[in-house]
Assembly symmetry: C2
Homo-oligomer: 270 residues x 2
Amino acid sequence: MLRKVFYISDGTAITAEVFGHAVLSQFPLEFDALTIPFVETEAKAEAVKAQINDCFITTGERPLVFHSIVKPEIRDVIYSSEGLDYDFLNTFVAPLEKQLGIAATPAMHRTHGKANEGYEARIDAINYAMENDDGQTMKHMDKADLILLGVSRCGKTPSSLYLSMQFGIKAANYPFTEDDMDNLKLPDALKRNKGKLFGLTIDPERLHEIRHSRMSNSRYSSLRQCRMEVKEVEMMYQKERIPFVNTTNHSVEEIATKILEITGLKRHMF
Amino acid sequence: MLRKVFYISDGTAITAEVFGHAVLSQFPLEFDALTIPFVETEAKAEAVKAQINDCFITTGERPLVFHSIVKPEIRDVIYSSEGLDYDFLNTFVAPLEKQLGIAATPAMHRTHGKANEGYEARIDAINYAMENDDGQTMKHMDKADLILLGVSRCGKTPSSLYLSMQFGIKAANYPFTEDDMDNLKLPDALKRNKGKLFGLTIDPERLHEIRHSRMSNSRYSSLRQCRMEVKEVEMMYQKERIPFVNTTNHSVEEIATKILEITGLKRHMF
């Protein structure tokens, strides 16, 4: 039976999940995980404690409990359960208090809450990415922080959305289609924003697979067409000195952080 | 002068950022943070160490270094710098090894990499959310995991995108516009997917502000119109027994996790 894991927080529990997931992914095991957000009252904490204790009784193993609970009285209830606590917040807060010479002033919802400065800017960035996806308009290119280029299905849309959501970057994206291939060039709106351009590319074999699963046996999805488009676009990047990355073996997180690293665009934290 | 903070990783550094940000946000201080991802070689680690040491010489204060480095030889270089290490991965891996009775098998890019099962499903969910945003088509509603409803600018789009990106949920969204208000009812494609419907609402005053900043002095942005639309839509949610949340004081993370909590939809972790 899989070991039971709880991710618990008085907020969204996203931090507890990310933290626990990162630690557990170092082990060659699978886990049975349950996330419990918004444990904001002692009554709710008692119910969670009962759930943890039940789980111990049923399985005979103490569940692993990853938590990032800000309120001490809530935390104490979870501590008193049969779970094994991995409390990353407090493990590091105490030494930091000493180092910084200042007491922590626990406040909920500071991490993934809205009190955050720049929250509006983030929503603006998300809306910007949506409205300027896939070259649907060129009107707002001057307002972009970044413009991703590439052939259809190379990863432009997920990358733009991730950059806007995670880092508050206004990312537009523009596709090169089959019709462009005979004479590949940058539209004027992109030429005058040359410093914002960033190319994506992908292995033709992988592109063929992706297109095939959406539109099988078309010219669009043929390996020959994929090879030709990728080759033309990469030549253009080189000629125009547009930096680019290959997305084939990378997640959106990796692509996005790689772009930030190369362009030097500043991340915002939310 | 603000205390310097480094977020360092041999991967994307997103986990190190989330972790460090969560810990530091417990202090009533501002920090000057720098993220350095992809520290994958000892040479690169030495360069980062030099940067940390320079920073100590310049500021006279040891920088705070939050890291989640998987490779021991890279980690050792960072450990040997003048920075103060907050190494959440190793702090918790050792006790877990003991508890689980198994050695960790450190592997890079497991957390935010692509090796992840379900990565394709995540990209499909993102594409689904894009293609089924704002009621632009009703053709694919039967394939949705979740359909968000609400008036224009109440938070549907960012919430749908976040749910797809973070949790791999196929979230469509459908707007109710002024023209619907005289006789507010669910289109057939939504009626037959009633169990997937989830409403968003917002305080009329806040809606008025948001609309005003996009389209000032219009009927669309008037407080009177905002009040009317919100009232009509909330009455419909109640009549049709559609669960709903108020987005006014909440971040996308909070809205998304609240929706998962209420609907019981399962989160995927990437």
